[in-house]
C-alpha cells in the first residue's frame, strides 16, 4: 500500500517536468465572459458578436483608435446632391478570405441581407430607401431624408461575399436554427477564423491577403469564454491567457502591484442612470401614497440631489468611473459641452424640493435593479437606497438577474429603475431616439423609454437632429435637448461605467470606449 502511495507521489512530482509548456511569443490567447452567439455579422446585434467579428469581417467604414470613422472597404464617400443620400467609392483589389474579389455586388448583397426582416441589424438601414450600383466600385445609398450620420451609423455593418453566401445557402441570416454562416466566416478582415467550437474556443490566424498595413505580430490567436471571474483572473495570473476583460473591480489594486500583469483602464460608452414611471397614475410599491410623486420634476431633481455620486464612485467603483451629467459620455459625438453640471449632492436641497412638491415627510416606493448586468450594479443600488432614505425617500430595493429584469421593466413593475445605455452609433442622437422620444411603435421611437417620458420639444427636435447636415446647427439642437432632459430630470445620469482590461505585461493593445477588442492593434513583445 505504502509502495503504491510512494510511486504516486513520485509521479506527481515528475509530472510538471515532463509536461513543461512550450508557448510561443506570437501566440495570443484571450478570455471573454460571453462567447459570441454566432459568426453571422447580420444575425445578432450585440457587442459580443460585433466586437469579435470586427476582427474578421470589415465594413465600408471602420472606427479608428479614437472612435472616429475612417476608410475601410470604401476609400472615400460624399453626400449626393442636397442630402439625397451618400455615395461610397470602394477599395479596389480587395479579396475575401476564400479568394474571391470584393465588388459593388457584395455591398448590395450585404445591404439586402443586413436589412432583411430576418436580420437583427435592419434598423441601421431604416433611413435608406434604395441602394444602387453605379459601377463596379461605386455604390449609392439613397435616404428618405438628409442623413448626416449615415456613414457613422454603418461602422458595424459588415460586408459578406455574395458568392460565398449563395454557395453555402446562407443568403439570409437565420438566428433560430442557424446556417453555414453561423459557424463559418469569410470576411475581408485582418484575421480569418480557422477553427470554431462554440462555447469552447475560436481560433484566428492572420489573413495573408489582407489589403491593410499589418501592425500586429500575432501568428495565431485563440479566444476562450471563461464565465467565472476568479477563474479568468487565475488564468491571467498563471499566464494561461494573455488578456481578460473585465478585471473584477475589487482585484484592480492587487493586479496593479503585480509586475507580470498590466491593467488598462478607460471609460466605456455606457452611461448608468435612474429611470422613472412618468406616465403612471400611482406608484406600484408604495405603502404611504396613492399618487405618483415621480411625475413631478421636482421630486426627480430631489432624487438627483440626494445621491452622492462621488462617494459611490470612490467606495464601490474604487475611483474607476467618472460622473456624468447627460445620457452620453464625453467620448461620444454630439456630447453637449454647453450643458452645466447636474444637481450636486445636497440632502437639504432634496428635502426642500420634496416639501415644495407636497411630500415634506417623504414617501416610500419600490426600486428595481439588475444584479448581473452592469459592474457592481446591486451594490450601487444599495448605496442609492441608503442615500435616498436620508432625504426621506424610502426605497424597497428589489435586485434580480437581468433575464428577469427586462420583463419586469416592460411590464411596468417598478417605481424607479437602474439602466445603463451604450449608444450603438456613438452619437448623442441615439439615447434621445431610444430613451427620450415619446414611444411610438410604428416609427420605432422610444423603444427603451419604459417610463414613457414625453416632451413635445424633444419630439420636434429629434427628426431635425437626424437630418441636419450642418454640424454647428446640429450641436445646438443636441445641446437644447440635453438642457431639456436635465431641467426635466427625465433620467438621473449617474456615472460612465469603466472599462478594465487585464493583460500580461508583454502585451500592448488599444482599448476603445465601445469595448471592442481589436486584434490587429495587439502586439506581443
Amino acid at each position: 500500500m505504502l509502495r503504491l502511495l510512494r510511486s504516486a507521489a513520485c509521479a506527481a512530482a515528475l509530472a510538471p517536468a515532463i509536461l513543461a509548456s512550450t508557448a510561443q511569443a506570437e501566440e495570443f490567447s484571450w478570455a471573454v465572459t460571453t462567447d459570441p452567439q454566432t459568426l453571422d455579422p447580420h444575425a445578432v446585434n450585440t457587442a459580443a458578436v460585433l466586437g469579435f467579428l470586427n476582427n474578421t469581417y470589415e465594413g465600408l467604414v471602420r472606427r479608428n483608435k479614437d472612435m472616429r470613422i475612417e476608410p475601410a472597404l470604401a476609400t472615400s464617400w460624399e453626400p449626393i446632391g442636397a442630402g439625397e443620400g451618400w455615395r461610397f467609392h470602394l477599395r479596389e483589389g480587395v479579396t475575401f478570405q476564400d479568394g474571391s474579389a470584393f465588388t459593388a455586388e457584395d455591398v448590395l448583397f450585404s445591404y439586402q441581407r443586413a436589412a432583411s426582416p430576418e436580420a437583427d441589424t435592419a434598423s441601421w438601414f431604416s433611413p435608406v430607401s434604395d441602394v444602387k450600383i453605379v459601377d463596379e466600385f461605386t455604390v449609392d445609398f439613397l435616404t428618405t431624408s438628409p442623413n448626416p450620420i449615415f456613414p457613422d451609423s454603418i461602422a458595424n455593418w459588415m460586408i459578406m461575399d455574395s458568392g460565398w453566401a449563395e454557395a453555402n445557402a446562407a443568403e439570409r441570416p437565420d438566428k433560430e436554427s442557424g446556417n453555414y454562416a453561423t459557424l463559418n466566416a469569410n470576411g475581408t478582415g485582418a484575421f480569418q477564423v480557422t477553427s470554431r467550437e462554440p462555447g469552447l474556443r475560436t481560433v484566428l490566424e492572420p489573413f495573408e491577403g489582407w489589403w491593410g498595413e499589418v501592425e500586429h505580430n500575432i501568428t495565431r490567436a485563440e479566444m476562450t469564454p471563461i464565465q467565472n471571474p476568479a477563474t479568468a483572473l487565475a488564468a491571467l495570473l498563471s499566464g494561461d491567457v494573455d488578456m481578460i476583460n473585465p478585471v473584477p473591480i475589487q482585484d484592480v489594486a492587487r493586479l496593479q502591484d503585480n509586475p507580470d500583469v498590466t491593467v488598462t483602464q478607460g471609460i466605456e460608452a455606457r452611461v448608468i442612470m435612474l429611470g422613472f414611471p412618468h406616465q403612471a397614475e400611482a406608484l406600484k410599491f408604495s405603502t404611504d401614497t396613492d399618487e405618483n410623486p415621480f411625475a413631478d420634476a421636482r421630486v426627480r431633481q430631489a432624487v438627483a440631489h440626494a445621491i452622492n455620486v462621488p462617494a459611490i464612485l470612490k467606495t464601490i467603483m474604487r475611483d474607476n468611473a467618472e460622473p456624468v451629467n447627460q445620457l452620453v459620455s464625453a467620448a461620444m459625438r454630439g456630447y453637449s459641452n454647453a450643458l452645466g453640471d447636474g444637481p450636486a449632492y445636497d440632502p437639504d436641497a432634496a428635502r426642500a424640493l420634496l416639501a415644495e412638491a407636497g411630500y415634506p415627510d417623504g414617501f416610500s416606493f419600490g426600486f428595481k435593479c439588475p444584479n448581473n448586468r452592469y459592474l457592481n450594479d446591486e451594490a450601487v443600488c444599495q448605496a442609492i437606497t441608503a442615500m435616498l432614505a436620508q432625504a426621506g425617500m424610502t426605497a424597497s430595493l428589489d435586485a434580480m438577474p437581468v433575464q428577469n429584469y427586462w420583463p419586469e421593466l416592460r411590464a411596468g413593475n417598478y417605481d424607479m429603475f437602474l439602466l445603463g445605455w451604450s449608444p450603438g452609433t456613438f452619437d448623442a442622437e441615439h439615447p434621445i431616439r431610444f430613451l427620450a422620444a415619446t414611444p411610438n411603435e410604428a416609427q420605432k421611437l422610444g423603444s427603451w423609454n419604459f417610463g414613457g417620458f414625453s416632451n413635445a420639444r424633444v419630439d420636434e427636435l429629434l427628426p431635425q437632429i437626424q437630418s441636419e447636415i450642418d454640424e454647428d446647427a446640429r450641436q445646438a439642437m443636441l445641446d437644447e435637448v440635453a438642457q431639456i432632459l436635465q431641467d426635466e430630470m427625465a433620467y438621473v445620469p449617474l456615472y460612465v461605467q469603466p472599462l478594465i482590461w487585464g493583460t500580461r505585461s508583454n502585451v500592448t493593445l488599444t482599448q476603445r470606449p465601445d469595448n471592442f477588442f481589436i486584434l490587429r492593434w495587439v502586439s506581443v513583445n
Binding site: P225, E441, S447
Partner: protein, 326 residues
C-alpha cells in the same frame, strides 16, 4: 417477476414525466430569453413576433407537451443561444463530462479504498490520524473553494498545471478525448481531484469503519491464530468482506459525480454538459435546460431501476414479498 419489473418501469416513467413538468413550470422563473436573442434596437413588435415563433406565449403545460412530443421523436429542439440542434451540442459536450467523471471516480475509488484500509489497519498511528483529520476538509469544504484553492496553488503560484479548460483534445470519430495529449492529461488533474475529493473521503470513511468492524470478527482472529501473514489477513479476508456495502455506495455515487460536475466544470471552465447547463440558465436557453434535466433524471431513474431489479435477483425475501403481498 415480470409484473414487478413492468411496475417499476411504469413508476420510473411517471417520475420522469413529473420531473419534466416541474422543470417546465420553473423555467418561467428563470427569466425571459427574448432579450438575449434580440439586440438593443429591437421593437415591441419584434419581441412579440419572436415570442410567438418560439411558442413562449403559450402556457407551460402546452410547451411541455410540445417538448415531449418532439422528444419522443428524438428531436430536442434548437438551442436559443447557439442556433444548433440541442442533441448535437449535448453529444459534443458529453465526452468532457464523462471523462472527468470517470477519472474522478477512479481516483475516489482507488485512493478511498487504499486510505480507508490504511487508516483502519494503523488505527492508532500518527499518519492515520492525520489522514482522518485532513479528510474532514474533503467533507466540509465546498467544491468551488477547493477548486479555486487548487488553481491558486498549482497554476498561479507553482505554474505546474493549467488553470482552466481541457487542453488539446483528439477527436476519435465524434468522441473528443483528452487522454491522448499531455496538455489534456494535465488539464484533467485539478478538476478530477476537485470533483472526486468528496467521494474519496466518503469511500475512505466507509471502508475504514467497515474494516474496523470486520477486523473484530472471530474469523479474523482465527486467521491470525493460524499464523497467516498480516497482508493475507487484511486483504484476502478482511477487505473482501467490507466491499459489499462499499460497492452499493459507489454505484449510487456514480450518478451524483456526473450530476454534480456542474460546480467543478464552472470553476475550471471545463467544457462539459454541466457548464453548458449553467450557461443555458444565464441565457434562459430553455431547450438546452430541458434536455439536460431530462437526461440527468433519466440517468438517475435508470440507475435506481437497475438497482431495484438487481435487488430483486439478489434478495429472495423481496421476491416473495412483492409477488405475494402487494
Amino acid at each position: 417477476m415480470l409484473a414487478y419489473i413492468i411496475r417499476r418501469m411504469a413508476q420510473s416513467a411517471l417520475v420522469l414525466l413529473i420531473v419534466g413538468l416541474v422543470a417546465f413550470a420553473m423555467f418561467h422563473f428563470v427569466g425571459d430569453p427574448i432579450d438575449n436573442m434580440l439586440g438593443q434596437e429591437r421593437t415591441a413588435d419584434d419581441i412579440e413576433r419572436l415570442r410567438k415563433q418560439l411558442g413562449l406565449d403559450r402556457p407551460f403545460v402546452v410547451q411541455y407537451f410540445k417538448f415531449l412530443e418532439n422528444a419522443v421523436q428524438g428531436n430536442f429542439g434548437m438551442s436559443y443561444r447557439q442556433g444548433r440542434p440541442v442533441i448535437d451540442i449535448l453529444l459534443e459536450r458529453a465526452p468532457a463530462t464523462l471523462e472527468l467523471a470517470a477519472v474522478s471516480g477512479i481516483l475516489a475509488i482507488v485512493f478511498g479504498i487504499a486510505l480507508g484500509v490504511f487508516t483502519a489497519i494503523k488505527r492508532k498511528g500518527f499518519a492515520a490520524n492525520a489522514i482522518m483529520s485532513v479528510s474532514l476538509i474533503g467533507v466540509s469544504l465546498p467544491t468551488f473553494l477547493i477548486g479555486i484553492l487548487l488553481i491558486y496553488l498549482f497554476s498561479v503560484e507553482l505554474g505546474w498545471l493549467p488553470s482552466f479548460g481541457r487542453g488539446n483534445v483528439v477527436d476519435l470519430g465524434g468522441w473528443s478525448t483528452g487522454f491522448l495529449t499531455t496538455s489534456g492529461l494535465k488539464a484533467l488533474i485539478l478538476p478530477s481531484i476537485t470533483l472526486g475529493l468528496y467521494q474519496m473521503t466518503l469511500i475512505m470513511r466507509l471502508v475504514r469503519s467497515e474494516m474496523l468492524e470486520v477486523l473484530r470478527q472471530d474469523y479474523i482472529r482465527f486467521a491470525r491464530a493460524r499464523g497467516l501473514r498480516d497482508r493475507n489477513v487484511h486483504f484476502r479476508h478482511a477487505l473482501k468482506n467490507t466491499m459489499v456495502p462499499v460497492i452499493t455506495v459507489i454505484g449510487l455515487q456514480l450518478g451524483s459525480i456526473i450530476a454534480f460536475a456542474i460546480i467543478t466544470e464552472t470553476v475550471f471552465q471545463w467544457p462539459g454538459v454541466g457548464l453548458l447547463f449553467i450557461n443555458a440558465i444565464q441565457f434562459v436557453d430553455i431547450p438546452v435546460m430541458a434536455a439536460y434535466l431530462m437526461l440527468i433524471s433519466v440517468m438517475f431513474v435508470g440507475i435506481n431501476l437497475i438497482v431495484d431489479i438487481l435487488y430483486f435477483f439478489i434478495d429472495p425475501r423481496l421476491r416473495v414479498d412483492r409477488t405475494g403481498g402487494h
